[in-house]
C-alpha cells in the first residue's frame, strides 16, 4: 500500500517520495551549505544563490521569510533545512519555537516538562 493511504499524523510530514520529488532543488541547495564557501556565497546574494539551484517560487518565498513550516510544505527535509538554520545561527530549540508558535523559553519548558 502506498504511504499516502496511511492515517495522517498531526503536525508531521513524513519525508516520502512525494516530498523528496517536490523538494529536490531546495534540499540540494541546503545540502550545499555543508561547505563554508557555499554558505558565504549564499549570504552574499541569497537571490542569486536560489536561482543557481532553481528553487521554485514557494521555496524561495520560504527561504526569504525564514518560514520553516512553509519550507516543509515546499518539500524541505528536516536535516537539510537544519543546515539553513545553521547559517542563520539558529539551533533546534529556536527552530522548534518557530514551528510551534512558542517563544524559545516556552519551547524549552515544554521539552523539560516531559522529564
Amino acid at each position: 500500500m502506498s504511504a499516502t493511504k496511511l492515517p495522517p499524523i498531526p503536525g508531521t510530514t513524513p519525508f516520502d517520495g512525494e516530498q523528496a520529488k517536490k523538494g529536490y532543488a531546495l534540499n540540494k541547495m541546503c545540502f550545499s551549505f555543508n561547505s563554508a564557501e557555499c554558505r558565504a556565497e549564499f549570504l552574499r546574494d541569497e537571490e542569486a544563490y536560489m536561482k543557481k539551484y532553481s528553487l521554485n517560487e514557494e521555496q524561495a518565498a520560504g527561504i526569504r521569510a525564514r518560514d520553516v513550516l512553509g519550507l516543509i510544505r515546499a518539500g524541505g527535509n528536516a536535516y537539510y533545512l537544519a543546515k539553513f538554520a545553521g547559517i542563520l545561527g539558529l539551533n533546534m530549540q529556536d527552530i522548534g519555537a518557530l514551528q510551534t508558535g512558542m517563544t524559545v523559553e516556552q519551547f524549552k519548558a515544554k521539552l523539560a516538562a516531559y522529564a
Binding site: 496511511l6 503536525g11 510530514t13 555543508n34 563554508a36 539551533n91 521539552l111 522529564a115
Partner: protein
C-alpha cells in the same frame, strides 16, 4: 573466531559535540547526560574491545537524495568527519578495519542484504559523537566499521528488516577469522521530532518500555510499522532502528552494565545502554 563483548547504544544529538568542545560536561544542563558514560567507560577499560561496528544514520553529510542507499557498509582504511553546516567542531578521523569491512560485506550479501559498499565515506555526528562519548581520547583509540541505515527518505527499512540486518551483522562478526574482541554500537533516538507543528514531541513511556525490551524482549519493537514508530516516537525517534539492529547483533541474555535516560538534550529524550555478553 572473533568474539562480541557486548553492545552499546546512545543518542547522538549534534549539540553534544558543541558541549564537548566547550567543556560543559559538568554544567547542570549536561551533567545528567555525560555522567551516564562514566560507568560505561570503566567497563570498556576492563573488556578492551579491539574494534567497533557502528550502526548509525547519516544526516546529509555523506549521502544526498541523488543516491540514497537503504543499507551501506564502509570499507575504508580511515573515516573522515567534515563540516555538517551547523557549526559543531569537526572531529579527528577514525581508523577503519578493512578486513572486517569486507568480511561483513561478503557475509551480508550472502545473506541476501543488497547493501551499498563505500570505500570512501564521510561520517557525521551520528558516528563520531558516540565514539567520542565512549572513548574521549582523540583520535578514537580503536578502529571502527560504519554500517549506515537510511532514516532520511521514506520508505525506511522496517524495524523487522533492521533487526534481521543486525542478526546478520552479528553472525558475520562471530564468523570472522580473527582473535579480535568486537563491540557493536547503535546510535540515535530516543523519542524526538525536529520538524513540523509537532516539533518537540517526546514519549517517555514508550522510550522506557523500549529500553526495557532491549534487555528482556529484544524483538518487541519489531511489531511496529515505521508509520507507527513515527507516531509513537517522532519523526527522528525512528532512529531506534539502529538500537534494534545493534541488539539483534548480540542476541540472547545480556548483562546490564549501565543504562541512563535523560530528558531533554536539545530536543531529544536521550538514552544510553551498555549490555555485556555473558
Amino acid at each position: 573466531m572473533a568474539r562480541i563483548v557486548g553492545m552499546l547504544t546512545t543518542s547522538h544529538v549534534p549539540a553534544i559535540g558543541g558541549a564537548i568542545a566547550k567543556n560543559l560536561q559538568q554544567d547542570a544542563y549536561w551533567k545528567p547526560f555525560f555522567d551516564g558514560f562514566l560507568p560505561v567507560r570503566k567497563w570498556l577499560d576492563e573488556v578492551k574491545p579491539d574494534v567497533a561496528v557502528v550502526l548509525y544514520n547519516d544526516h546529509g553529510l555523506n549521502f544526498f537524495l541523488d543516491k540514497m542507499p537503504t543499507f551501506s557498509v564502509g570499507a575504508a582504511p580511515e573515516y573522515h568527519n567534515a563540516d555538517e553546516g551547523w557549526g559543531i567542531p569537526t572531529l579527528a578521523p577514525t581508523r577503519g578495519d578493512v578486513d572486517l569491512s569486507w568480511h561483513l560485506i561478503n557475509h551480508l550479501i550472502e545473506r541476501d542484504f543488497d547493501i551499498t559498499t563505500c570505500q570512501e565515506m564521510l561520517v557525521d555526528h551520528a558516528f563520531t559523537i558516540p565514539l567520542k562519548l565512549f572513548w574521549p581520547q582523540s583520535p578514537c583509540p580503536i578502529p571502527a566499521v560504519p554500517v549506515c541505515i537510511n532514516t532520511v527518505q521514506f520508505p525506511l527499512p522496517s524495524a523487522k528488516r533492521c533487526y534481521a540486518l543486525g542478526e546478520a551483522v552479528g553472525d558475520a562478526i562471530r564468523n570472522w577469522d580473527s582473535d579480535k574482541k568486537v563491540v557493536v554500537i547503535g546510535t540515535g533516538g530516543l523519542s524526538h521530532q525536529l520538524d513540523g507543528e509537532r516539533a518537540g514531541f517526546i514519549n517517555k513511556d514508550f522510550d522506557l518500555k523500549f529500553m526495557d525490551s532491549m534487555i528482556n524482549d529484544p524483538k518487541w519493537a519489531t511489531q511496529f510499522s515505521i508509520h507507527e514508530l513515527v507516531e509513537k516516537t517522532g519523526t527522528q525517534g525512528v532512529e531506534l532502528l539502529m538500537w534494534l539492529a545493534a541488539r539483534a547483533a548480540v542476541p540472547g541474555t545480556l548483562k546490564r552494565v549501565h543504562t541512563n535516560y535523560h530528558i531533554p538534550i536539545s530536543n531529544t529524550a536521550s538514552g544510553l545502554m551498555a549490555l555485556a555478553t555473558l
